[in-house]
Symmetry: C2
Subunit: 336 residues, 2 copies
C-alpha cells in the first residue's frame, strides 16, 4: 500500500521531470497528478525515496529530480512495451518500404528513428555471421591487383582490393573464382575458414602466394567487418538538450567512434534493453541513456538498433519506437 504510493510518486516525478525538465516539488506534484494525498505526505515519501537513492535534489530547497536508479526503477516497472498507434505503424512501414538497397534501408531507418524519438538514432548493419554467401566476384584490376566483392544474403556487399605478391593471369583469376564459388556459395560466412582450407595448395607454386593473399583478405573481410558499421543520425537532436549536458563535445566525440557505437549496441537481444546513465559502458556517455534492441532474420539477432539521448528521456515512447523499428527491420531482412 505504502510502497504502491511511493512508486506512484516516483513515476509522477519521472514523468513530470521528463516533460518539464525542471526539478519537481511536492506541491506541483499533488496539483498535477491524482495522488489523493496532501503535499506533506508526498514530502515524506520524497524524503524516503531520496533516502533510498531514487531521487535527489540539485540544491537544498529545490525540487527533486530522478537519479539513474530512479529511472531504472521506473523503467523496470513499465508494464511491457506500449504499442504504437496504427497510424504510426503505417508511417513506419511506408517510410521503410521505398528503400532501394541495404544502404538505403539503413539510412532510412536511422532517419526514421531519429524523427520518431527526436533523439540520436543508431542502426547497425546486419552481421555477416548469421548470413550466407550469395556471391563472390573477383575482378582483375591489374596483373598484381584484384578486387574482391562479397555479397551476403542479407544484401550486404563487402569489397576489398588486394595487392598480390606476384603477377597473375586472367586464367588464374577465373580458376580461383570458380573454385572459391563452389567452396563457399551458400555457406555461412563464419564457416568460410574451414571451407577454404587447403584451397591455395591446389595452385602451382608461383600462384600459391597470390591465392593465399586473396583467401586471407576474404577471411579478414568476413571476420573483421562482422559488425563493423553503425550508422548514426539525428545528432542535431542532442543540441536541443544542450543544457542537459555540461558540454556536448565529449558526447559528439564519442559518437564519432565506431568502436563506441558498437559497444553501445553491444549485447542486444531480441528484447528492448535500456542502459541508463552510469550503467553505460562508455565513460563519456554516462550522462546519456541508450535504448536498444536487436533485429534479425527470424530469431537470430543480426544486428542492433537503438537510440541515445539524455537520461531524462521519454522511456516508454522511445522503447516503443525502437521496438517497432527493430521489428520492421527484421521483416525487411526476411523478405530479402
Amino acid at each position: 500500500m505504502l510502497e504502491d504510493r511511493r512508486l506512484a510518486v516516483l513515476r509522477a516525478i519521472v514523468e513530470d521531470y521528463v516533460c518539464t525538465r525542471e526539478p519537481v516539488g511536492s506541491k506541483a506534484l499533488v496539483e498535477r497528478y491524482p495522488l489523493g494525498v496532501s503535499s506533506a505526505t508526498i514530502r515524506n515519501d520524497m524524503a524516503a525515496l531520496e533516502e533510498e537513492g531514487y531521487i535527489a535534489q540539485p540544491h537544498t530547497s529545490a525540487g527533486r529530480i530522478p537519479t539513474d536508479l530512479g529511472y531504472r526503477a521506473f523503467v523496470d516497472r513499465l508494464s511491457g512495451v506500449k504499442p504504437l498507434s496504427p497510424a504510426e505503424r503505417r508511417a513506419i512501414s511506408n517510410f521503410l518500404a521505398g528503400a532501394v538497397d541495404l544502404d538505403d534501408v539503413m539510412a532510412r531507418s536511422v532517419r526514421l528513428l531519429a524523427q520518431l524519438t527526436r533523439q540520436v538514432a543508431l542502426v547497425q548493419y546486419p552481421s555477416l555471421v548469421q548470413s550466407t554467401v550469395l556471391h563472390l566476384e573477383i575482378v582483375r584490376l591489374s596483373s598484381t591487383r584484384v578486387l574482391l566483392v562479397l555479397i551476403a544474403a542479407t544484401g550486404r556487399v563487402e569489397q576489398r582490393s588486394v595487392d598480390l605478391p606476384a603477377p597473375v593471369s586472367e586464367g588464374f583469376v577465373t580458376a580461383l573464382r570458380s573454385r572459391l564459388l563452389t567452396a563457399i556459395i551458400g555457406q555461412r560466412c563464419t564457416d568460410l575458414s574451414g571451407r577454404m582450407e587447403g584451397l591455395a595448395e591446389q595452385f602451382p607454386a608461383d600462384e600459391r602466394p597470390s591465392a593465399q593473399a586473396i583467401i586471407a583478405t576474404l577471411l579478414e573481410a568476413t571476420v573483421e567487418s562482422e559488425e563493423r558499421r553503425v550508422m548514426l543520425g539525428g545528432t542535431a537532436n542532442l543540441a536541443r538538450y544542450r543544457d542537459s549536458f555540461s558540454t556536448l563535445e565529449p558526447v559528439l566525440e564519442a559518437l564519432e567512434e565506431q568502436v563506441v557505437l558498437l559497444r553501445l549496441l553491444g549485447e542486444v537481444s531480441g528484447q528492448v534493453s535500456v542502459r541508463i546513465g552510469h550503467e553505460n559502458p562508455v565513460e563519456d556517455l554516462q550522462s546519456t541513456s541508450v535504448v536498444a534492441a536487436g533485429y534479425g532474420r527470424g530469431s537470430a539477432v543480426a544486428a542492433g538498433v537503438g537510440v541515445l539521448g539524455p537520461t531524462h528521456m521519454d522511456y516508454p515512447g522511445t522503447m516503443a519506437a525502437v521496438h517497432a523499428v527493430a521489428q520492421y527491420l527484421s521483416r525487411i531482412l526476411d523478405e530479402n
Copy 2:
C-alpha cells in the same frame, strides 16, 4: 601607402580575432603587431575600415570584429596557399596509406581533415561520371529478383536490387550479363545510356520487360548516384565553438542533409575555394564558412573535399590542409 597600412590593420584584426575570439581594440593591436604607428592612427584606420564595411563593433565602446566582407578581403589578399611542413605531409601520407578500400579512404580522409583543421570535414565520393565501368555483376536472388553490382574504375561499388515484372531463368541472367558486359565494360559511366540502347529488344518478348527493368535500374544507379554521397566527420569540433553560434541545432540539422552537403561542395574546381558566411548558399549555414577543393584523376574533378567551421577560422591553415588532402586523394585515385 595608406591603403597598405589599412590592409595590414585589417589583417592584424582578423588574425587577432581568429585566435582570441574577442573584439580587438586599437591599443591591443599596436601592442601585439608591429604596425609602427600609434593607437590613435589605428583608430582612424579602423573608423575608415568600418565605414567601408570590413569590420564592425558589437557595441559602442567595444573592440572591432571582422565582417564577412573583412574576411573576404583577408582571404583574397592571401599570397597563395601556404605549404604544409614536410612532417605534416608525411603524417597525411602515412595516415591515408593504410586504407583497404574506397570506403576506408573516404573515412580516413574525413578523420584526417577533421583532425588537421579541428573543424567539420566533408569528403565526397568520387563521381562515376568521369569514371569507366570496371565490372558488372548480376546475381539472381530469386526468380523475380536480381542484385546488380556495378564496379567503377575509381573503386566505387554501386549495388541495387531489382524486382522483376516476370520470373526469369538463370540462363537469362547469364545471357544478359554477357551482353551487358561487352556493351559497357571500359566505357564511361555517362555513356551507358547510348551503349545499352536496344539491348533489351534482343531478348524474347517474355523476358524483355525484365531486361528493361534491369537496364533502367542500372542507368538510374549511374545517374542518380553520380555524386550522391558525402561523408562527414568532426562534428564534435562544432561544439568547441559553441558560443560562435546562437544555437548549434540548425547547423547540425543542415549537416545531416546530403543535399545540403552536396551544395556546399557544389561548384568546386581544382583550386581551393572559400565561402564566407553569407556567401554560403545554405541559409542555416550562413554563420559558417566553407573551404573546399576538388580532387580527381589528373585534371578532371571527380568530387569535392572541404571543411566547415565558424567564420572566424584560421583560413590560411584550413586552406592549406584542404589543399593537401585534395592532392593526396587525387594521387590515391590515380594509383588505383
